[in-house]
């Protein structure tokens, strides 16, 4: 409602009520009994007080934020009004009897008095009604609103029935309406939910205020029912207003009477309720903290602090267990403690006292010791000077594993109840979750770091493969290598050699991943340096075997094939060290060139030398040599079927007229199509050489 409208609500009664006063003064003296004027007067009174009521309601929107305070304020108002009544009674003008009683002067004085007392009581009664509404609506249900509205209806009906021009005084209607209003007062008086949520202190206040209120309102009731002149003055001012004031006073009396009794009954449970409330609050805070695990110290300190507060414990401390990965020894860290020294904690964990901790480790369950001095598990603490009392330990479990313990002690024996156990268990669970979270975060940060490192390694390894293949008019080269993991153990190179020769090497380090990648780099170094000094492929492999035998781990070996393409002589000389056979496609024929050989790093020089043979192939125009690793032939589809040699030879034959580059792409696409949804399980390398020169004898 706008400010202007609010002010209007006050201004209109302020203008109207003086007219009523003037009418009363004149009417008292001259007795002008004109019905229409009387009706108008009553209407003006009703409108005026309704407006005052709306004005007050508008100011009092936010009631019951502090119920006892509101009641106290209302009490103050009622006391003031009682005082006003008292003063009014003392200074009440004399009775108006006799023929000359009602002169203008007398009636003017009397009407001031009557108007004043009516307005004061009407305002107080509006306050009572609104305060009660606030209290009743504290917990709003459908019925709450309905009953309150029903009361208002009967309240106004009962007031309306009092209007003199209805002439209902001889009927039972007013009485019936009164009776209904009082029944509804009683029903509404049982809406006392707000009491439950008061703190113990507030409940005490509420008892005091409700008693005072009850007494004060009782006095008001008596006054309103009495035949004292001042009461008659209100009745003579407006009968409906009197009924309004009276019914509301009765409402207040009964409501606060019930308040007094129910608060009295709530008082013994106030502490439990308060504890529950603080439990809820601390759990709420804790849940928030758990998500901010970055400050772990903050969390554990909050937990001990809250445990101490909520359980009203003497001392609280939190131990975390950690197992040394190397020695397997368990160490205990006290990460947070309250009201207890490290020395005292050490007493419990001291050598001859390991029993208690052992007990927790062996069976990670809630451990409740009702009397530290008399329990067989903690008797030893008595001699050590540990204070008497009770002791509670809650295990912290993560994935069923004990990771720590939350301990608490109290001054008295048998001091921990089920509630304490429940609360501490919840706290312990929260800590477990937070620890688990912080560990997961640390792990994922570490994983991210490793991933970055692997990405660097991947870039480095890509640079180890040739960035550009040799360019000759008589041969085409195409090559590709893909790792199944970030880095792989496949290696290939195609490089120019003296005398118009081109060296081609493909190798596969046993295993996968990082270890394979390191060996792959080593192989590149070895092959590059040996290619400059060795005259034949066989010699290069022999010397590579010598070098690798020393540096490779026992379970590691490398399969490789090395070929030298002699452009001048149109020939390919190759030696195979345990590697997949080279596919040679010449015209309509295809061959798997599988010269005898053994993997690098498997055996000593003499056996290797014996085993390795060299093959020389004369090339014809259009001949194709395909070098590859077993990642291609052993690629598996969803049915665990292998790609195999046949498919590879088949696709190569189908596109033998394509360029080397196109053939490489076609083979790769064919393998990928074969695999289907899955990814490569091994590194895949493919080198295609196409001879475009003429054949030589």
């Amino acid at each position: 409602m706008s400010r202007f409208k609010r002010i209007l609500l006050l201004i209109i009664p302020a203008v109207l009520l003086p007219f009523v006063y003037m009418y009363d003064v004149v009417n008292a003296a001259v007795k002008v009994e004109i019905t229409s004027l009387m009706v108008l007067r009553e209407l003006i009174v009703i409108v005026s007080f309704t407006m005052i009521g709306l004005f007050i309601e508008n100011r009092n929107k936010s009631l019951t934020h502090n119920a006892p305070k509101e009641i106290g304020r209302l009490f103050f108002g009622i006391v003031l009004s009682l005082l006003a009544i008292g003063i009014a009674i003392i200074f009440q003008p004399p009775e108006f009897s006799g023929p000359d009683a009602m002169n203008i002067y007398h009636s003017a004085v009397f009407m001031i008095f009557s108007t004043f007392i009516a307005i004061v009581l009407a305002v107080v009664s509006l306050f009572i009604l609104l305060t009660l509404r606030g209290l009743i609506f504290f917990k709003r249900r459908k019925s709450t609103r309905r009953y309150y509205l029903a009361y208002l209806i009967f309240l106004f009906a009962a007031c309306g029935a009092e209007l003199t021009f209805f002439n209902l005084e001889d009927t039972f209607l007013p009485q019936i309406l009164y009776a209904f209003a009082i029944v509804l007062i009683i029903v509404n008086s049982f809406k006392q939910n707000w009491i439950v949520y008061l703190s113990k202190r507030e409940k005490v206040y509420s008892i005091v205020y409700s008693v005072l209120m009850f007494v004060a309102l009782n006095m008001l009731d008596f006054f309103l029912a009495s035949g004292i002149g001042s009461n008659n003055a209100i009745i003579s001012y407006s009968r409906p207003l009197h009924s309004f004031i009276w019914l509301n006073a009765i409402f207040g009396t009964i409501y606060f009477g019930v308040t007094f009794i129910s608060t009295l009954f709530h008082l013994p449970t106030a502490e439990v309720f308060e504890k529950k409330q603080s439990e809820l609050n601390s759990l709420h805070n804790l849940s928030r903290l758990v998500t901010q695990v970055f400050d772990f110290n903050d969390l554990v300190n909050t937990v001990t602090q809250m445990t101490a507060e909520v359980c009203d414990a003497r001392s609280v401390w939190l131990e975390l267990f950690s197992v040394n990965a190397q020695t397997g020894e368990m160490s205990v860290d006290v990460v947070s403690k309250k009201n207890i020294t490290q020395q005292e904690i050490d007493l419990i964990g001291a050598d001859d006292g390991t029993r208690l901790r052992r007990y927790l480790i062996d069976s990670p369950k809630v451990l409740l010791i009702e009397d530290i001095w008399n329990d067989r598990r903690t008797k030893y603490l008595k001699e050590k000077g540990f204070a008497r009392g009770s002791f509670l330990s809650i295990p912290l479990l993560s994935h069923g594993k004990l990771i720590g313990v939350l301990h608490a002690t109290k001054e008295y024996q048998n001091a921990f109840d089920q509630e304490d156990i429940d609360v501490m268990t919840t706290f312990a669970d929260h800590v477990s979750i937070a620890i688990e979270n912080s560990r997961l975060i640390a792990k994922s940060i570490e994983r991210e770091r490793l991933h970055q490192e692997m990405m660097v390694a991947q870039r480095m390894q890509k640079r180890l493969l040739p960035q550009k293949l040799p360019d000759t008019a008589s041969a085409e080269f195409a090559a590709v290598s893909e790792s199944s993991l970030e880095v792989g153990g496949d290696y290939y190179d195609v490089f120019s050699l003296p005398d118009e020769c081109v060296g081609i090497v493909v190798g596969d380090v046993s295993g996968k991943g990082v270890s394979a990648a390191f060996y792959m780099a080593e192989v590149k170094g070895i092959v590059l340096s040996l290619s400059k000094i060795c005259s034949t492929p066989r010699e290069l492999l022999l010397r590579a075997n010598d070098t690798l035998l020393e540096s490779l781990e026992k379970n590691a070996f490398i399969s490789a094939v090395y070929a030298v393409l002699d452009v001048t002589n149109a020939s390919l000389t190759m030696a195979r060290a345990g590697h997949c056979p080279v596919i040679l496609i010449s015209g309509d024929t295809s061959e798997l060139v599988k010269s005898s050989g053994i993997g690098l790093g498997l055996t000593d020089a003499s056996q290797f030398e014996q085993a390795t043979e060299e093959r020389k192939i004369k090339l014809k125009h259009g001949d194709i040599c395909i070098f590859y690793t077993d990642g291609i032939t052993e690629a598996r589809n969803e049915d665990m079927e292998e790609y195999g040699y046949e498919r590879l030879v088949q696709i190569a034959r189908e596109c033998r007229d394509c360029s080397a580059e196109v053939m490489k792409e076609k083979i790769l696409t064919n393998v990928r199509t074969f695999i289907g949804q899955g990814a490569y399980t091994d590194d895949v390398t493919l080198v295609v050489v196409k001879w475009l020169g003429s054949s030589k004898d």
Partner: protein, 118 residues
Amino acid sequence: MTDFKIHHRDGDGVSIIELKGYLDAHTAPDLETAFQKLLNEKKYNVVVNCRDLSYISSAGLGVFMAYVEDIRKNMGDIKLTNMSSKVYNVFDLLGFPLLYEIFKDEQEAVSRFKEIKK
């Protein structure tokens, strides 16, 4: 993932290891454990029966290389038997037949050990 099983039995002073399924980088540690156990128990005459072995990768082959030296140092050996042609092909490509005795039948390998003993 693929399945891999190792069954170990002793017969006449020869330890027989039966392999089943896929021996690759993931399952190789299982075979390593089996070999380490034999070494700890000082059982150096080993026959590896590959009847149910459906696939072997380079990492799987590496396991044999890792232990064969220690076993041979103790006058023992690893002999391989009952390979499927596919598995044999992998051994053959790498030149393993030069390094290991490979038999068609488990019994042949066992009797070979006995001959040496005599």
